[in-house]
């Protein structure tokens, strides 16, 4: 019997504990006396850069203890061990090779906090090692890797959480509300159909164009603390320059894709939910942008997605926003603006009369115990990540692409299809399957 089959027996007990407010545990000083160690889950974090210190990952409590971390930068790793000792009172096991963490029998849940070029491989390997997975957005940097993650999670019976949360929590950027009333309004049919969603500075969404890359990078010596070969992993070898790595990696296609790839899933995943299209893909993506450099991510003017039923998602780049008062969602019968301003009279009354959307399971630890799907699982995550990645493909090629939702390939464009499954360096390709 493995650790987790042992756990479920006390799941009811654990669930009873979770009814207590979180602060109660906090006041116990993270003391785990109140839950037997066998009922407590454990997690490990791969990648000890900026995001791993967010409250989503950097915690250790009676429901889930932090037991190990991994980084390819010795400074990040040592600081991580030190900070966790100081702030969480835990002594964690440090790893340099993430595969060892993924196979550590003491770890139940693997948190993936690396740059996106690793997300696919790490998720797959963790699934194959029998771990449940909490992966940072964006889910993967190619459509093919996303599909492979979805398959691996399914085949190994794992619970997967993609980490962006606006479909179930928090004010959704410029809208000044959570997503729930929007979901109800759209479902009511009061706005008509098809709908156009505009994700733009004009509706309260920033595309962070400062996350662009630099051309003409001069090779620099690799710092002693960094295992650059392991940092690159499946990405093509390119000489080291500090701008490629830590936090500025977002500006390079090999690892991410600027604001579009890095913020895109935050902004687009809730739209899929709002439109009720969690199991659909757009059939066309059009771009208006200057030519993109093959290595460094640049800026763009607009990216437009069209679904088969005529619904559209329009992304407007910084400096290219529509002028005047622009709706966030526009339908033939009504529109919603920034701040939840709506052309439907007494919109809140209308919304209140409708049933709530189906409840979403948002307690990941509980999901691990019950094996229920998390609100944003690998299937929904794959769908919204694919929309982002369709945009990346169209942007890199600079042309309109048509997408076949059934096969999840581009229609009649070989180059675009080459971007769906990109070659991996060295032996890393074999970890994909």
């Amino acid at each position: 019997m493995n650790r987790r089959s042992f756990l479920r027996k006390s799941a009811v007990g654990a669930a009873a504990f979770t009814v207590l407010p979180r602060e109660v545990f906090g006041k116990m000083g993270g003391d785990s006396r109140y839950i037997a160690p066998s009922d407590q889950l454990t997690h490990g974090i791969i990648g000890m850069g900026g995001i791993s210190y967010s409250e989503n990952h950097f915690y250790s409590d009676s429901t889930c203890r932090l037991v190990s971390i991994c980084d390819v930068d010795a400074n990040h790793l040592n600081n991580g061990v030190k900070n966790i000792k100081e702030r969480l009172g835990e002594t964690v096991k440090p790893y340099r090779d993430w595969r060892e963490l993924a196979h550590d029998p003491n770890v139940d849940i693997v948190h993936i906090c690396t740059p996106p070029h690793w997300h696919g491989l790490m998720s797959i390997e963790a699934a194959k090692a029998g771990k449940d997975i909490w992966c940072e957005k964006p889910m993967t940097r190619t459509i093919g890797e996303g599909k492979a993650v979805m398959e691996a999670v399914k085949r190994n019976g794992r619970v997967f959480r993609l980490n962006t949360w606006f479909r179930f929590k928090d004010t959704f950027y410029g809208l000044g509300t959570t997503v729930k009333p929007l979901k109800k309004l759209v479902a009511s049919g009061k706005l008509g159909w098809p709908l156009t969603v505009r994700i733009s500075g004009a509706t309260g969404f920033a595309w962070k164009f400062y996350w662009t890359g630099k051309e003409n990078l001069i090779p620099e010596p690799v710092p002693a603390e960094l295992d650059y070969d392991m940092w690159l992993g499946p990405a093509p070898f390119k000489p080291y320059n500090v701008h490629r790595t830590h936090s500025t990696f977002r500006g390079y296609w090999d690892y991410d894709g600027g604001g579009l790839a890095d913020m895109g899933q935050h902004y687009i995943d809730p739209v899929q939910y709002i439109l009720g299209k969690d199991d659909e893909f757009p059939v066309k993506v059009e771009v208006d942008a200057p030519q993109q450099h093959p290595d460094a991510v640049g800026t763009w003017r607009s990216i437009t997605y069209t679904y088969a039923d005529g619904c559209k998602i329009i992304l407007e780049g910084e400096g290219f926003e529509s002028k005047g008062k622009v709706p966030y969602i526009e339908g033939p019968l009504g529109s919603v603006y920034k701040g939840f301003e709506c052309t439907i009279p007494n919109v809140m009354n209308v919304i209140n009369e409708l049933p709530d959307p189906e409840p979403q399971e948002t307690d990941f630890v509980k999901c691990v115990h019950t094996r229920h799907r998390f609100a944003l699982d690998e299937i929904k995550g794959y769908h919204s990540a694919t929309i982002v990645n369709m945009g990346v493909c169209a942007l890199r090629l600079g042309r309109t692409l048509n997408f076949d939702p059934k096969t999840q390939t581009f229609i009649g464009d070989d180059a675009a299809n080459l971007l769906i499954n990109q070659p991996m360096r060295g032996e890393w390709g074999k970890y994909l399957f």
Binding site: N2, L217, R371
Partner: protein, 801 residues
């Protein structure tokens, strides 16, 4: 001899290819140079034109570009990379198949001749992009025989490891399909949670009514956890056929899961069953399921409330309220006298019929119920027309003893009358009115809030919020935030205002935020640095260059010290802004202008030859910058007066929708378009705000007298050259070499600059107005400001008298 011949022919071949010419008689050399000069292409049209040129001359063009790569330390390769990646992408586009072979050949040669490993890897990666897509998604299962697969599954099952058992059940499902049901049912008896749930998931493709009936038959033999799994699954799949089975589990050990499943499946029977569980030990689960129940439950809820009467559980009343079941209002109202839960539910069920009754309840309510009843009171009018809500509530308040309890519902109306009413009450000293004023969603409350803001932090915060949400012009917002800044007391509010000022990027905002760079409070200094960066990068031309350097230096120091990665980007942005915003060089007359007798009026250094409003027109960074506010009357005039002349200048729009003009032969302090000879319009007429423009108002028009040919303006930030030639009554306006106006103003109005009948309407001018100054003999030349966002430079004149 033979050897020499080979070499010679090799040279010949090379030279032939190098000098091959395209349809425009260009050599490959020229084509490559032309293309490289234009990269990166700014739009798809340019891109395809450039890349077609390269592709047509492949492989030579490719080899030539590839041959120009240098080691990264020695020089920039970015344009070459744009060219190679671009042509590969072009060749790979649908319809361009014929270019793939030559481009590919060029790249192969490039690989063998690459200057270093980085370049070689780049060429190879591009070559790979010319291949055809491989089928990367292999399915390991497919390559094994059925027998092998079953053996593999047995092995995985025997391992006892959870995820391996999950793999096994998928394999078994793949091999047996619907025939795997008995294995799935057996798996449900396993103690492993993941395995059980995975087993259920494998059934998705074939599950039908008969499968679900087998599943529910097996239910009895399962453990508690597995029973939960089955119920969860029936709910997930909304198995309507098993709703009776699911309802049968309510009240038992698996009640919570059965209730959740019933809510997802829906239907009348489920609704009634769930409503019956309200007020029992399943209250919470049933309420949650009913809030998101799959279908309409209005009738069921109403029936249940009527039946239960005073015994209705709190959660049932709350449900009626949440779903706005107004038919339940009479029952709930009756209960409201003695039930707190019913009072809380009123807001969801009341209408204007209940207004007076709710008002009476509010008036005499205990303090603890006030907030609830205030919500209910506003709900009574919320479906009425917006303009009726305030008077309805005000009239009720007149009848009440506790008038102040009505302030908050009145604030919810968000009407202008409410703002005035609450401001009046607040001035008279009502704290409740002031609190209500802080809640009102109406920008007109801002000025009242500001008057209280000095002594009340909540008023100040609300003032800031209302200003930032308002549709005021950017400059009015800046003024408002600066006012707020002057009275803000704590760092948090000050920091928030700095952030708001950054959102209204202009000179005044910069002057307001810059002093906070020196703040001793570290967070505040960082906020100031970010604001300075945002404003400076957005409107560098509005800030004197020396100040910009000073502010940015300080801001970069502050942000470099934070260690936050996004602050690193901010530093990069400031560096690149600084390098792009050096002041313009001093302008000089051309030799031809010198010979003709032109005089420089503004060369970029000072306004000594000008009079008038030198505050809103200032010489900065080598240009005259217009800071006039919209509708302002600040004008800049030449010191001297002129009769006939040639007037030349350059102008540049920095913001969209700019409006200005050149006054001709005008006295000072009057409207040059009428009191001067004329005003030659300067206008960003392409901006959408000018959609309804009349033709005599476009750029270059002699305003109201002679319409100009419509000019296509250069983009914001680019300079245009303009010349205005005035000889007696003849005026010629030329922009960027294009003549927009060439006509006689007297002829244009048949000599009638004013109406012959002495009236205000002049039928002879295109704007039908009088132009009394049209035949002025001489006057100043002016810039007539109507708003900021414009620069002039290199202003010179040739007097023709």
């Amino acid at each position: 001899m033979k050897k020499i011949l080979t070499i010679i022919s090799a040279i010949l071949v090379t030279s032939v290819s190098l000098f091959a010419q395209d349809a425009r008689q260009r050599t490959v050399n020229t084509i490559v140079a032309d293309v490289l000069a234009q990269l990166p292409a700014q739009n798809y049209g340019d891109f395809t034109a450039d890349m077609e040129d390269l592709a047509k001359s492949a492989p030579q063009s490719i080899e030539m570009v590839a041959g120009m790569f240098q080691a990264p330390e020695k020089g920039a390769n970015n344009k070459l990379e744009y060219a190679i990646a671009g042509v590969v992408s072009f060749a790979n586009a649908p319809g361009n198949e014929s270019y793939r072979e030559p481009v590919s050949e060029g790249l192969k040669n490039a690989v063998s001749k690459a200057v270093d490993e980085t370049a070689r890897a780049f060429f190879q990666s591009q070559l790979a992009m010319l291949g055809s897509p491989c089928c990367a998604q292999k399915d390991g299962c497919c390559q094994l025989s059925e027998k092998d697969l079953l053996a593999e599954a047995e092995k995985l099952l025997a391992s006892g490891e959870s995820h391996k058992k999950c793999q096994a059940i998928w394999i078994l499902h793949k091999v047996r399909g619907a025939g795997n049901v008995s294995k799935v049912l057996a798996a449900l008896k396993d103690s492993d949670d993941a395995y059980r749930m995975t087993a259920l998931m494998t059934t998705e493709d074939y599950a039908d009514a008969s499968f679900y009936s087998r599943l529910t038959k097996a239910y009895k033999s399962l453990g508690t956890d597995a029973r939960d799994d089955v119920l969860y699954w029936l709910g997930e799949k909304k198995v309507g056929g098993q709703v009776a089975f699911v309802l049968g589990q309510i009240g038992g050990r698996n009640s919570a899961e059965a209730i959740a499943a019933a809510g997802k499946i829906g239907g009348d029977a489920a609704a009634d069953a769930l409503i019956a569980r309200l007020g029992t030990e399943d209250d919470c689960a049933a309420a949650a399921a009913l809030n998101s129940f799959n279908g309409d439950i209005t009738g069921n809820v109403l029936k249940a409330i009527e039946k239960a009467g005073d015994n209705a559980p709190a959660s049932l009343i709350a449900l009626a309220s949440a779903r706005h079941i107004t038919d339940a209002a009479p029952v709930i109202f009756k209960m409201a006298e003695h039930s707190k839960d019913a009072r809380a539910a009123l807001k969801g069920v009341v209408s204007s019929d209940n207004l007076s009754a709710v008002a009476a309840l509010l008036d005499k309510a205990d303090e603890a119920d006030v907030a609830t009843l205030q919500d209910a009171l506003y709900a009574c009018v919320s479906e009425e027309d917006a303009e009726d809500r305030f008077p309805m509530l005000r009239d009720e308040s007149f009848k009440a003893a506790n008038k102040s309890r009505f302030y908050l519902p009145i604030a919810y109306t968000a009407s202008d009358e409410a703002v005035a009413y609450l401001t009046g009450a607040a001035v008279e000293g009502s704290g409740d009115a002031l609190a209500a004023l802080c809640r009102i969603k109406n920008g007109n409350a801002a000025s009242a809030l500001l008057s209280f803001a000095r002594s009340n932090g909540e008023c100040l915060s609300r003032y800031i919020q209302l200003i930032s949400e308002s549709r005021m012009s950017e400059f009015r917002k800046t003024d408002a935030f600066i006012k707020a800044l002057s009275i803000a007391k704590d760092e948090k509010v000050t920091g928030a205002i700095l952030g708001k000022l950054a959102g209204t990027a202009n000179r005044e905002a910069m002057e307001a935020v810059a002093p906070y760079l020196e703040s001793a409070d570290k967070d505040l200094a960082v906020k100031a640095a970010n604001a300075v960066k945002t404003i400076g990068c957005k409107v560098p031309t509005e800030i004197p260059y020396d100040d910009l350097v000073k502010y940015f230096d300080k801001a970069m120091k502050i942000l470099s010290a934070t260690g936050d990665p996004d602050d690193g980007y901010a530093v990069d942005a400031m560096k690149s802004t600084l390098s792009a915003s050096k002041p313009y060089p001093v302008s000089e007359l051309t030799d031809e202008e010198k010979a003709a007798g032109f005089v420089m009026l503004y060369d970029g250094t000072n306004l000594d030859k000008w009079i008038g409003d030198k505050n809103t027109y200032s010489s900065m960074n080598g240009a005259i910058n217009v800071f006039a506010n919209y509708g302002g009357d600040g004008n800049l005039y030449t010191e001297k007066e002129y009769h006939n002349f040639v007037y030349r200048f350059e102008f540049c729009f920095l913001r969209p929708a700019v409006n200005n003009g050149v006054g001709v032969r005008t006295p000072m302090g009057v409207d040059a378009a009428y009191e001067g000879m004329c005003e030659v319009q300067i206008l960003d007429h392409d901006d959408p705000v000018y959609a309804d423009l009349r033709e005599y108002q476009t750029h270059g028009s002699v305003y109201g007298v002679i319409p100009a040919k419509r000019l296509k303006h250069k983009p914001v930030g680019e300079w245009s050259e303009e010349e205005i030639r005035v000889v007696d009554n003849h005026i010629t306006v030329t922009v960027n070499g294009e003549v927009l106006v060439d006509g006689d103003i007297s002829e244009a109005c048949q000599g009638h600059n004013v109406a012959p009948d002495g009236g205000d309407r002049n039928p002879y001018t295109v704007d039908h107005r009088n132009h009394p100054g049209m035949f002025n003999a001489k006057g100043h030349i002016s810039f007539c400001g109507h708003g900021r966002g414009l620069q002039f430079r290199n202003v010179r004149i040739l007097p023709l008298d």
